[in-house]
Symmetry: C3
Subunit: 264 residues, 3 copies
C-alpha cells in the first residue's frame, strides 16, 4: 500500500483526505499523482463550492514517503521528474483550482504537508499541529518552486528557519505569521472547519471563482519562468467583468436592496 487520496463530495462540499496509514499520511509518488487527479476533478465539478483538505487519523501529512527515495532520488533526471511532474503536478492542480480550499490541520504538517497547506486559501489548525520542513537533515534542499510557494505562504523568516535551521514551529507561531487563520483546541477543529466551509459555500460561487482567479494572478512569481510574459496576458484575457449580467450578480444586488437573504 502506497497510500491514497480519498475524495468525497457531499452537496456543495468536497472532502479530500490524505491517507497513508502508519506513515502519518506521508506523500508517496502515487499519492501526488492522485492529488493532481483529485483537484482536476474538483475543478470540473460545476457545483463544488468549497473543498476541505485534511489528513486521516490525527495528522495532516508528515512529508514525503522516504522509503521510496532510494529508488529515484540519486539520479538528477529522475529527481527532476519527481519534483517537477509528480510533486508540482499535484500542487499546481491545487493552485489552479477555482474552488475555495480550506485546510484542516492537526498533528504533523511537515515538508510536503506544508507545501500542500500552502496551496489552500484558508488554513485552520489545532493547538497540537506542528509545522516544519527539516529536510536538510536528510541531505537535500527544497525544490526551487516549492521553496517559492512555501516562502510566500509562511513568510521569509519562517521559511528560512525551517529550511536552513530545521526549526519546527507550533500553531500559535504560524498564526502570528498569517499562515493560519485560526488555531483551536483539537475537539473544535473539525466543527469549526465545517462551519467555515459551509459559510464559504453559502456565498456567491461565481464570485468566489473569479476572486480565486484574481489571487492566482498575484501568485505568478511561483511560476517564475513564465512570469514576465504571462502575467500581463493572464490579466488581459481574464474577462474580469463578463459576470455583469449573470443571475448570481443580479440576485445578490436585488436581495440586498430588498432587504432579504440572497439565494445563490
Amino acid at each position: 500500500m502506497a497510500g491514497n487520496i480519498q475524495v468525497v463530495k457531499d452537496g456543495y462540499l468536497v472532502w479530500v483526505t490524505l491517507d497513508h496509514p502508519g506513515k502519518f499520511n506521508a506523500m508517496s509518488r502515487a499519492m501526488w499523482r492522485a492529488l493532481k487527479g483529485a483537484f482536476e476533478g474538483i475543478q470540473r465539478e460545476s457545483d463544488a463550492r468549497c473543498v476541505i483538505i485534511r489528513g486521516a487519523d490525527g495528522h495532516f501529512c508528515a512529508g514525503g514517503d522516504i522509503a521510496e527515495y532510494p529508488g529515484f532520488r540519486f539520479d538528477a533526471q529522475q529527481l527532476e521528474q519527481f519534483h517537477e511532474e509528480d510533486v508540482w503536478g499535484g500542487l499546481q492542480a491545487m493552485l489552479d483550482c477555482d474552488v475555495p480550499i480550506v485546510a484542516q490541520i492537526d498533528g504533523n504538517c511537515m515538508g510536503a504537508g506544508v507545501e500542500i497547506a500552502s496551496c489552500c486559501d484558508l488554513r485552520i489548525a489545532s493547538t497540537l499541529a506542528r509545522f516544519g520542513a527539516p529536510i536538510a537533515r536528510l541531505g537535500f534542499p527544497m525544490a526551487p518552486r516549492e521553496a517559492a510557494l512555501v516562502a510566500q505562504a509562511v513568510g521569509n523568516t519562517t521559511a528560512r528557519a525551517m529550511l536552513l535551521a530545521a526549526e519546527v514551529f507550533d500553531a500559535p507561531h504560524m498564526l502570528a505569521r498569517d499562515f493560519l487563520l485560526k488555531v483551536l483546541p483539537q475537539e473544535q477543529l473539525k466543527p469549526y472547519t465545517l462551519d467555515l466551509a459551509q459559510r464559504v459555500a453559502a456565498l456567491a460561487p461565481q464570485a468566489a471563482r473569479l476572486n480565486k482567479q484574481a489571487f492566482r494572478a498575484l501568485n505568478m512569481p511561483l511560476d517564475p519562468v513564465e512570469y514576465a510574459q504571462e502575467a500581463p496576458e493572464l490579466i488581459a484575457v481574464n474577462p474580469a467583468y463578463a459576470y455583469a449580467n449573470s443571475a448570481e450578480h443580479r440576485e445578490g444586488i436585488a436581495a440586498f436592496l430588498d432587504k432579504r437573504k440572497p439565494n445563490f
Copy 2:
C-alpha cells in the same frame, strides 16, 4: 445628494474627509471622481507635507453606494468603466500621490473603505473599527486590481478570508497583520493621528516624496499589465540622486553635525 469629498488645507497638512451622510460614507461614483480630483490637486500642492484621510461622523467608509448599482452593474462595459475608471481612477491618484498619507480609521472600514485605506502609507484605527469586504454576499467579486491592492496591504490569508468567507476583522487582528500601525481608544484616535501627521510634516519633505517614489516602484504588481516592461524603466529614469545638492539635504547634514535642529 450623492456624498462628497471634503479637502481642507491647514499649513503643511491636508485633511480629506469622505462624507456621505446616512450611508456611513459609502462611495458613490461622484465621490470616486472627487477622490481622484482631490489627490491630483494635493499632488500639485508643492508645500503639502502630509495628508490625513478620514470619514465623517464616526465611520471611515462602509463600501460602495449599493443604491446606485442597479443603474450600471449589470452591463459588462459599464461595469468595467465603473471599476477601471471611477474606482481605480480614485485609488490610482492616491497611489500616485507623493505626499505621505495617514488614514484615521474609526467604525466601518469595508469594501471601498479597505481599498482606500490600502492606498495610504500609515493607518491608525480606533478599537471600534471593523474591516472586511463581504461583497460575495452581494453576488460579485472584487475587481482584479483592487483585489491585488488589498491582498498586498492586508496579507494573503486575511484578503482571502474577507473575499471568500465574508469574514469581518477587528482592529487588533489588522494590527497583527501589519495593516495598521497603531490601535487606540476612540478618544485618542484623532489627537494621535494629528500628532503623527505633524511629526511627518516636520521631516524633510523632498526626502518623503523620493521615499514614496521608491516604495511605489515596489508596488508595480498592482498594475500588472505594465509590470514587466515598466518597472525597470521607472527605476532607470528616476533621478534617484539628483537631490544631492539640494538645500534640504545640505541643511539636514549640517544641522546634525552642528548638533542643532534642522529647519526644513
Copy 3:
C-alpha cells in the same frame, strides 16, 4: 580610524564583527568596502557553513558615518557612487553569499544596520535592540534599492513608518513583523545565537547553499532593472537537481533509513 570589519573563522563558523569604536559601529565607506570583501571571501570558503554577524561593544550598527557625509553627499555623481558601489556593493555581497547568515543584534540597529540585518537569513535580537532609519531628519531619502530591501524585510507599514515618520521600533515590534526570529534577554543573546549557528552548521551544507540560491531568486525585485529578463534565466540555468548523486544527499537518506545520525 574609520572603523573595520573583523572576520574570524572558527571551524565551520565565521564571525563577522562590525567595529567602529565611539560611533556605535556606524558604517564608514571603508567599512562598506571591507564588508564586500569579507562576504566575497566567505563565499569562496568551501567549508564555511554558517556566518554570525554582530556589532562590537553592545550595539549592532547605528547607521552611516555621518562625519564623512559632507565630503561626498552633495554631488549627485559621488552620491550615486557611494550608494550604488560602496553601500550596495557590501549588501549585494551579503545577498549573494550562499552560506546561511545569522544576525546577532543588540542595542542600536539603525539605517545601515537595518540594511545589513535585512541581508541576513535569521535575525536574533536582545530585548534592548532598537530599529529605525530616521534619515528624513538628516534631509535625505533611502536609496531606492536599499528601500526595496528594507521594505521587503521589515514589511511595508514598518518601512514607511521608519522612513516617512522617523519611527523607532523595539524588538517585540520587529518580532511581530517577522523581521526577527527570536527576542531574548541580553545575557542569552550570544549563547542562543551560537547554538542556532551550530545547529545550522550541523545540517547538510550543500542543501543550505541550494536553498539560499532558491530564496535569492525570489528576491530578484530587489534588483529591479534586471528583474523581468533575468529571473526566468536565473531559474532556468540553476541546475536545481544536479545534487542528486552527491555524497551528502546519499548520506542523508541512508542515515534516515538506517535510523542513525547523518554525517555531513
